[in-house]
C-alpha cells in the first residue's frame, strides 16, 4: 500500500508513536496496598480532597511560610492503622463539580470531600449513611462545633433526613470594618450584633472625603455580583427564610416574602454609599491594604483572611462583627466541606476510620496551621495556642460558625441560586423593582422545582 519512502516513514512514525504512548501512558495507576501485617493489612482507600492541597511540602503564596504536604496526614493515618494504605486524590476548586460527578460515577474514591452534598448524591443512593458507624463506635458528635453536624444533614433515597457527611472544615460569613476610617469620621465602632440601621447610618456618615486623609471613602461594600447569600441573611435577620423542605416534593420557596422585599429595598438604598461597580464586583481593590477606602465590608468569609491581615500589618485596624441573626440568634450561610463515604467503597470500615481521623486534633490542626482551614472541633477553640493567638478574629468566627441557618440551603448548587443572584443583581442595576425581581425569582425557582418533581 505504501510504496513511497515518505508513506512508509509516516506509517512507521505512527506505529512508533503509538508504542511510545502505550509505555508513557500506562504509568497512571494508583498504588494498592501490599502491606501484609497489621489489623488493616491489604486494605486501600482513596480519599478525594478539594482545594490548594499539595502532596509535597510547599510554600504558602501569601505568608511565604513553608507548608507541610498532605503526605503528613497519610503517614499519620497509616501509622495509626497498621496495614492500611491511603491514596489521596487532590483537585482544584475550579471544575470540582464535574470532577466529583465523574469520580462518583466511576466509583473512583472511597471518601469524598463534598461541599455540594445537596446536589443529589445522597438522594440517588451514591452515599453511605453514617449513623450506623456513629452508633457502632459511640462516636461523640458533640466534639464538633455546634450546628456543624446538623448543617450537613440531607435526605437519602428514602426521603428521610440523616447524616451522610461529617464536617472537615468550616466556612461562615460575618461583617468586617475598618476602625481607622470609623475613627477618622468620629463614628462609633460597630456593636457585636449590628442592626440594619447601624449599618445604614454608619455607611451614610462615612461616604465622602475622609476628614483626616482627604481621600474619597465609601461607607459600605458588598459583592453585587453574587448577593444571594447576603440578601438571604438580611431576610433571615428580619425573621424570614428562603423557604422550607429538603425533599423536592416538600420543598417550598419564599423568595418573594415581605422580608426578602424589605431586604432587597434596603440593599438598593444602601447602594449609593458603595463604590460604583459593585454589581460587577468592582471597587474594593484597596480593601485589606493600608490605603483602604471602604468602611464596612458585608458578607465576608474567613478564607485566608487572617494571613492577609497579618501580611499587611492590619491587625489593629480591622474589626469583625456578626451578620444579621433572627430573634433565635440564627442566620447566615452554612458552608464548608464534609467528608462522605461512597456506597461503592470496598473498605467501608477503613473509610469510616478516615472520616473519624478527620475530626482528630492532629488532622484539624494540620488543616488550620498549614492551609488556614477553619477547624470544626470545639477543642481547637479552647486548647490550641495557634487559635488563641488570633483570638480577636477567631472568637467571632467561632460564634458565626455556630449560629448559621441550618441545614445547608438545598439550592446552593442548583438553579435557584443563579436565579436569586441574577434577580437581585437586576434590581441593584435598576432594571426592575425589588418586587418585580423577587416575583421573577420565585417563579423561576418554582419552575425549576416542578422540573425536579417530574
Amino acid at each position: 500500500m505504501f510504496k513511497s519512502k515518505k508513506g512508509k516513514a509516516l506509517v512507521w512514525g505512527f506505529v512508533s508513536l503509538l508504542v511510545m504512548l502505550s509505555f508513557l501512558t500506562g504509568c497512571g495507576s494508583t498504588s494498592t496496598s501490599n502491606k501484609k501485617d497489621g489489623k488493616w493489612a491489604g486494605q486501600t482507600i482513596t480519599v478525594q480532597m478539594i482545594g490548594s492541597f499539595k502532596l509535597q511540602d510547599s510554600t504558602d503564596p501569601i505568608s511565604g511560610q513553608k507548608i507541610k504536604g498532605l503526605q503528613a496526614l497519610k503517614d499519620e493515618f497509616e501509622k495509626e492503622h497498621p496495614g492500611a494504605t491511603v491514596n489521596i486524590v487532590t483537585m482544584p476548586w475550579d471544575g470540582y463539580i464535574q470532577k466529583t460527578k465523574t469520580m462518583v460515577t466511576g466509583n473512583q474514591a472511597d471518601v469524598y470531600q463534598m461541599p455540594g452534598l445537596d446536589s443529589g448524591y445522597a438522594r440517588e443512593g451514591d452515599l453511605e449513611p453514617l449513623q450506623k458507624y456513629i452508633d457502632k463506635d459511640h462516636f461523640d458528635l458533640s466534639k464538633y462545633v455546634d450546628n456543624t453536624v446538623e448543617g450537613w444533614e440531607t435526605v437519602g433515597p428514602d426521603g428521610k433526613k440523616q447524616i451522610y457527611g461529617l464536617p472537615v472544615f468550616g466556612d461562615t460569613r460575618f461583617i468586617l470594618y475598618d476602625k481607622k476610617i470609623f475613627k477618622d469620621y468620629g463614628v462609633k465602632d460597630l456593636p457585636e450584633h449590628p442592626t440594619m440601621d447601624d449599618i445604614m447610618n454608619a455607611a451614610k456618615q462615612m461616604t465622602g472625603k475622609d476628614p483626616v486623609t482627604g481621600q474619597q471613602t465609601y461607607g459600605v461594600y458588598f459583592n453585587g455580583q453574587t448577593p444571594e447569600f447576603l440578601i438571604t441573611d438580611i431576610a433571615e435577620g428580619l425573621g424570614g427564610s428562603w423557604g422550607s423542605g429538603l425533599n423536592y416534593k416538600d420543598m417550598k420557596f419564599d423568595f418573594n416574602s415581605p422580608q426578602y422585599q424589605k431586604a432587597l429595598n434596603w440593599l438598593i438604598s444602601l447602594e449609593p454609599f458603595a463604590p460604583k461597580g459593585i454589581t460587577s464586583n468592582q471597587g474594593s481593590e484597596k480593601w485589606l491594604t493600608k490605603n483602604n477606602n471602604i468602611a464596612i465590608m458585608l458578607d465576608q468569609g474567613p478564607g485566608s483572611l487572617i494571613t492577609k491581615i497579618n501580611a499587611q500589618g492590619l491587625q489593629d485596624r480591622i474589626g469583625i462583627v456578626q451578620q444579621f441573626k433572627n430573634d433565635k440568634g440564627v442566620g447566615g450561610l452554612f458552608a464548608g466541606s464534609p467528608f462522605v463515604m461512597a456506597k461503592s467503597s470496598k473498605h467501608k470500615d477503613l473509610a469510616w476510620e478516615w472520616i473519624k481521623f478527620s475530626s482528630s486534633d492532629f488532622f484539624q490542626k494540620y488543616l488550620w496551621e498549614q492551609y488556614n482551614n477553619i477547624p470544626v472541633i470545639k477543642s481547637a477553640y479552647t486548647d490550641w495556642q495557634s487559635i488563641k493567638d488570633e483570638k480577636q478574629f477567631m472568637d467571632p468566627i467561632l460564634q458565626a460558625l455556630s449560629t448559621p441557618w441550618t441545614p445547608h440551603y438545598p439550592w446552593v448548587n442548583a438553579e435557584p441560586r443563579n436565579d436569586l443572584s441574577s434577580g437581585v443583581q437586576g434590581a441593584l442595576t435598576g432594571k426592575m423593582t425589588a418586587k418585580q425581581a423577587l416575583d421573577k425569582i420565585e417563579q423561576q425557582s418554582n419552575d425549576w422545582l416542578k422540573q425536579q418533581n417530574q
Partner: protein
C-alpha cells in the same frame, strides 16, 4: 522640488503608519506585559496592584520560585508535551486524510457522512462528559493519557477546514496521477500532501492550543498528581480558601504560555497564508 515633496510625503505617510502600528502593537502587548508584571509582584497574592501598573512596585521572584518549587512543573510540562504532541500528530493526520476523502473521494453516503462530521461540532463538551468518561472507564483507560489523545482523531473542525482547503486544489492533479496509474494514497502523499503546508500549520497551532489549554477533560480523567498537565497544575495554585492568588496565577500563566508563543513565532507565516487560502475569514 516636486519629487522631494513626493518623497517627503511618502516618508511622512509611512511614519504615520509606523506610529499607528506601533501604538496598536503596544496596546495588544499590554495584557502580556501586565501579566508578567503581576507575576513579579510579591504582594499581588494578597491584593492585585491597584491602580494597574506595568512595572511592579515590589518586584520579586517569589511567585516564580513557587511555580518551580519541587520541580513538579517540569513533570507537568512533560505530560502536556506528550499529550499535545500526540494529539497534534494524530489530529492533523486524521483531519488531512478525512478532509481529502470528503473533498476528492467519490463514495456512497459522502454527503450524509460529512453532515455527521459537522454535527459533532454542534455538541458541546458538557453533555458528552459523562458518557465519554464511562466509555473510557469501561475500557480501563482512566488515569492514563489515552482518553486525552484518542478523541483528537475525530476533529470535525479540522476535517471541515481541510475539506475546504482541498476543494480549492484542482481535481485535474488527481486525474492526471490516476492516468499515470497512481493509487489513492500515492496521490495523497505525493501530489496533495506537499501542498498542505499552510493548512497543516494552522491545524498544528489550533490543535496545539486546544490540547495544551484543555482543562475539564484532563481534570476528570486524571487523578494521579504525577500525570497533571499544565492547566491542572496551574489551577491547583490559583486559589487558596476562596482567595484568588493573582501574583501566582500570572506567574504560572506566563510560564505556561511560552510554548504557545514559540510555536506561533515559528508558524505565523503559514497561519496567515492559510487564513487567506482556506476562507476562514469568510471570503
Amino acid at each position: 522640488m516636486a519629487a522631494l515633496t513626493q518623497k517627503k510625503r511618502f516618508y511622512i505617510s509611512n511614519l504615520i503608519k509606523f506610529v499607528i502600528l506601533l501604538i496598536g502593537g503596544f496596546l495588544l502587548m499590554v495584557p502580556f506585559i501586565w501579566m508578567i508584571s503581576v507575576g513579579f509582584s510579591r504582594s499581588a497574592n494578597v491584593t492585585m496592584p491597584f491602580p494597574p501598573s506595568l512595572i511592579p512596585k515590589d518586584p520579586s521572584w517569589f511567585n516564580f520560585g513557587i511555580v518551580f518549587e519541587n520541580g513538579q512543573i517540569f513533570r507537568a510540562y512533560l505530560n502536556s508535551g506528550i499529550v499535545t504532541f500526540s494529539s497534534v500528530v494524530l489530529g492533523v493526520a486524521s483531519s488531512l486524510l478525512g478532509g481529502y476523502a470528503f473533498s476528492k473521494g467519490k463514495f456512497k453516503g459522502k454527503r450524509l457522512l460529512f453532515i455527521v462530521v459537522l454535527a459533532t461540532l454542534m455538541i458541546p463538551m458538557e453533555p458528552r462528559l459523562i458518557p465519554m468518561y464511562e466509555m473510557f472507564n469501561k475500557l480501563g483507560m482512566l488515569n492514563t493519557f489515552w482518553p486525552l489523545i484518542l478523541p483528537a482523531m475525530v476533529n470535525g473542525f479540522g476535517i471541515f477546514l481541510c475539506k475546504q482547503y482541498f476543494d480549492r486544489l484542482p481535481d485535474s492533479l488527481r486525474e492526471s496521477a490516476q492516468i499515470d496509474g497512481a493509487k489513492e494514497f500515492t496521490i495523497f502523499f505525493k501530489i496533495y500532501f506537499p501542498l498542505t503546508g499552510p493548512i497543516a500549520a494552522t491545524l498544528v497551532i489550533l490543535t496545539f492550543i486546544w490540547s495544551w489549554n484543555d482543562f475539564v477533560w484532563p481534570l476528570v480523567i486524571l487523578n494521579n498528581q504525577n500525570l497533571q498537565t499544565i492547566p491542572l497544575y496551574l489551577a491547583s495554585f490559583t486559589q487558596e480558601n476562596g482567595t484568588s492568588l493573582g501574583g501566582l496565577t500570572m506567574a504560572l500563566a506566563t510560564v505556561s504560555v511560552i510554548p504557545i508563543i514559540i510555536l506561533y513565532l515559528f508558524l505565523q507565516r503559514f497561519i496567515i497564508q492559510s487564513i487567506a487560502l482556506s476562507g476562514l475569514k469568510g471570503e
